[in-house]
Amino acid sequence: MRVDLRLLLILLVVACLALLPVAALLAEEPYWMRFWSRIMILGLAAAGLNLILGFGGLVSFGHAMYVAIGAYTVGALRHHGVEGGLPDILVALGASAGVGLLIGAICLRTSGIFFIMITLAFAQMTYFFFVSLEQYGGDDGMRIASGTQLGPLHLDDTLTLYYSAFLLLCGVIFLTWRLVNARFGMVIRGARSNEQRMAALGIPVFRYRLTAYVISAMICALAGVLLANLTLYISPAYTHWTRSGELLIMVILGGLGTLFGPVIGAIVLLQLEDLLAHITQHWQLFLGPILILVVLFARGGLLGLLAPRQVSQRPAEEIDG
């Protein structure tokens, strides 16, 4: 590993995240923990999306759907009187894997803009599906009576949730690192770069992409479980298309196909929103142009800005930051 600005930034961020609750307790600002839990949860979902978007080159405009599936799992299980934590996680993973397998198999038949649009269409379908679930509050959504409990761990406790999100995020980034550098990841990345050549070499790209799609859906569903614990609320708005757009923005802001990019992107986007919201009620008036400027002028994302060379030119084995 080369010691560069990016690495320093990442170490700094990880250290700050690990120690933030201490600062929050000392400053008696528990809100900080909730705010940063939210950042890490969305960062987790963005990391899931990054697996297929950044490394696989598949622009899914519907990944908020899987976050919503995770959240609704918690809500539905509690609604039907299922307590305890393991069912939350297992059902969320199972449901997202099943839905991801089905929808992924259909979507991956298309490519390019058609893929973007068909993933969006499925997310919209899910949106209207959740709206129609009147026993879960329909359009308005529903409160969740209690969060996920894993033995002594109560995920709806602020501190527990914070560290659960932190550890899960670190775990997923580590998993992504192994995944994208293993043979599986080489296929996914090769397919992004040159799909035709993959087939000519004898690699059936579809099944690997589908696997990556399902893994990424499951990561997003885990983020959804945590999100339900943070808000203790579920709503069809979780799968609104602007949420999927926000996940895309986080991945791009941080740096496409970098391991820590999604987290950096989540931090920057949510902090920016928070900051602008403090200054003016009309913060979106400024967020929009800022996004445009980032896309136009900082193509490798923020991590790309700090990198010595452009991300796309880097030989693949250097993907370590």
Partner: protein, 307 residues
Amino acid sequence: MSTTLLLIQTLNGLQFGVMLFLMAAGLTLVFGIMNLVNLAHGSLYMMGAYFAAAATSWTGNPLLGIALAIPAALILGLLVELITLRTLYQRDHLDQVLCTFGLILFFNELARVLWGSAAIPMAIPESFTGFVTIIPGLIYPKWRLAIIVVGLLVALLLYVLITHTRLGMLIRAGASNRAMVGALGVNISLLFTLVFGLGAALAGLAGAMVAPLLSVEPGMGDPILILTFVVIVIGGIGSIRGAFIASLLVGLIDTVGRAFLPALLREAFQTQSANTVGAALASMLIYILMAAVLFFRPRGLFPPKGR
């Protein structure tokens, strides 16, 4: 269900369909020729509606308001193209999606700053208030009928433009083979600007005409934008004919489905939940249609030849 009700809902579906076509025509051309995913197309529609409402309250005449909204949307579209989108043509779809997503945030908030969060009412032009008897026993709102007529006229005009003019020839060539148009020595950036302006004016026209029927409010372009994308993907990107057929298809299926599906399911299953399931299914119908079309024809119903 009565035949009259079915006919009225069919007309409503047609009205919705031609409105979608006004949106889709511009979007599919911009997409087909410039390879640009423009999410901000819905914002042009919203601004068209606002321009119409504002010009109406200024002049006191809704028809004049609508007439003024079209050039205003055209100018706005040209400005957007010149300032931001022009640099995006060479970028990949992801960059375009994000950049135009930023434009949506900007315009929605801009509308809120300029006109407030509350919906603005706009009157139907005086000579078009009330109903008209189409056939005995079937009366229909004049203004909705006017929208259908205008939409079909625009479709006809576009057809003539595309098939019988030099500009149309270039547009067709561009949709099927972008490189070739450049090789012909055509001023590509002028062509792009013209096509984008045309699309913006049509989106503005759509927004202005439905403004009296809907509430003019921030974010009103978002749902219509998604439907428009559904339309052009079903129709085949770059194809005006595909956009026209898919617009009517989506308009009819959506309107008729919403009107009758809940009742049909209720009759079939005799349960309370049939109503809500029916409503949900009705709102999902067009997305199911789109997924099905893409499953069997991954490039839509009428993909331009030669790409």
